[in-house]
Amino acid sequence: MDYKIILKEISEKLGIEYSLFLLRDDEVYLKVKLDDFKNICLALHKLTSSPIASLFALDVRKEKGIFEIYCSVMSAKYKKWFFVVAEITQDNPKFNSLAKEIYSASLFEREIKEMFGIEPVGNPDVRPLRLHSEIWPKGAYPLRKDFNKPEAPGKTEDYVFNKVEGEGIFEVPVGPVHAGIIGPGHFHFSCAGEPIINLEIRLGFTHRGIEKLFEGKNVYDALRISECLSGDASFANSLSYSCAVEKIAGIEVSENTRMLRAIFLELERMYNHINDIGGIAVDVGFSFPASLASIIKENILQLNEKVTSNRYLKNVNSIGAIAINWDKDKTQALRESLKKIYKDFKEIKEILLSSVSFMDRVDGTGVLKKKTAEDLGATGLAARASGIAVDLRKDFPGIYAKADFNPIKQETGDCLARLNMRLAEFEESIKLIYWFLDRITPQAAAQNSYNIKEGFALGFTEAWRGALTYWVKINKEGLIERCKITDPSFLNWQALSFCVLGDIIPDFPLCNKSFDLSYSGNDL
């Protein structure tokens, strides 16, 4: 099917004028007037039945005297990412909010408001997400090009939590420093008796200003930053980023390299999934399988180190290439280790699924309804556990096209569904790695240096948490002008706050672990 059907629909039925200005195999850019921006986004949202994948702004006041706003919607059916682009004048920085019609746009609009000072007119909630108002002065917009770091905090204000009122309602604040060895975040529960009535999650505690840090860097320095965005997904981050740069520069990546990348991506998925399987067991107090899981995780990390010299697959990926040697010994080592790992894994799976008291805790706990997940724009594993078939490895298969890849889906959306997802994806990953291992040939580490052209593109990967996208724009000097990162955790944190409703606080750690979202990836 052709994506032009959608464009035809937009121009004929809605009568919206647009101009196409950049076409790639998988990206379509439509430029519209700001007045039409909202309508065309709503239309695309409906026609593709997809949430907003990303919504972001650009400061091009120096070149053109305007801000630009980009909205992207992914269509699995037409295998395209649609981008709607509009111009916003600098004297009157406003646009009509999409949030009331499309909930998944809401957080992105808050982000645009705090980073650029562009007002989403009609969004009921414009509280800052990451620049906490207690310490950050009003009117300092970091992603504007003329931003200067404020010296003094200036005028600040307290953050107002949503309040649940009524007889016997009490609040439980938790964090930012938690009891475990984990990232910081604030959870604000409102309870009536035992059940949770409302959970508001306040994040941003690990905000470092990464998107700004990217600006003005050359593409190789920026690659290192992308690896430090979220330590447990560093390969997926560097892969998404380098895909964007490769598209801009028109670099053809060899099939062998792409297969190697897929192997590393799957290894990353495996060690994180087994970590979470163990984490779920810990949170119900079932320590034996948890210990076994942490042994498997350690084994995979040591395996990573053995084949790439880095436990977290940092410094492995490069622009257009892989920065390490690959030889037959490594293929063999991977094969042998995976065999042992799989044996241990089967053991855990049987122990967990045959324990009645364990199953009792996870079954039916923390249900994320399909409708809720769709509205929130949930992505990746969390969405698939609730019955939404989204997986970039299938929707934009690339190197996975030939591999015998079965996307996995569950229907119930509870902790058990997410556990089953992880168990099944772990096995699928092993299968995929074997498939790729059968086909790769040894290759030497590449030291490429490319001429980077001006341009922009979207890089995307199905990271272990879900769709991870980097939209990168490079200027004439070959330096990064803007980099918009959309981490799968960004929208999925919302899903967590909805799935715990009606459950009790002691089940919260279990629900939290079943999602295992990234603090640093969300906070940027």
């Binding site: 420093v177 690990t206 470092r208 430090c228 330590g231 560093s234 640093s520």
Partner: protein, 171 residues
């Protein structure tokens, strides 16, 4: 039943699992020394409270790895505790995001005397890769006094144990 069977079959995993995953005797030697020093200086146990002030999560993952059955740092006397009130030592990762500065200070103040602070990972030292970022405090030392630093991005579990040992030897 299955658990029992598995336990007997598996034996003690802190010994090298198989020749693919050799940690060797180094771990045991470092561990034994660590245990001896903790016995002497901290009357058998060193309690550590960990705070993430904006790290990418890899450092946390490695700290957790020191507690897995392969390294099992607890058998040498190091425990990670849930509250700063129980802690002898604060272990801090990350470049200190502005949002975490107050929380870090409060955590430090909540600890009983005597207390000391160890930083872990490149960004905790001086901000590392995030040094130029607008929202970081360029390292933990700008917020609370730091006694010792464990370098790495992230440091491996055995390196964490070795660094801890070398510090305790000197202290």
């Amino acid at each position: 039943m299955r658990i029992l069977k598995n336990r007997i079959l598996k034996g003690i995993v802190t010994k090298p699992l198989d020749k693919n995953f050799v940690l060797g005797e180094e771990l045991e030697i470092v561990g034994a020394e660590l245990k001896k020093i903790i016995q002497e200086k901290f009357s058998r146990s060193l309690h550590v409270r960990e705070v993430d002030t904006g790290s990418c999560g890899a450092c946390e993952s490695e700290i957790i790895a020191t507690t897995n059955p392969i390294y099992d740092i607890q058998r040498f006397g190091v425990s990670f505790v849930a509250s700063p009130r129980h802690a002898d030592c604060l272990l801090v990762t990350g470049p200190v995001s502005k949002n975490m500065a107050l929380a870090l200070k409060k955590t430090y103040e909540a600890m009983p005397q005597p207390k000391f602070v160890i930083t872990l990972g490149h960004c905790a030292l001086d901000g590392g890769i995030f040094k130029e970022a607008y929202y970081t405090e360029k390292g933990v030392k700008n917020i609370i006094p730091v006694t010792f630093h464990i370098p790495g991005c992230p440091p491996k579990p055995l390196d964490i144990m070795k660094a801890l040992l070398s510090f305790l030897k000197k202290a």
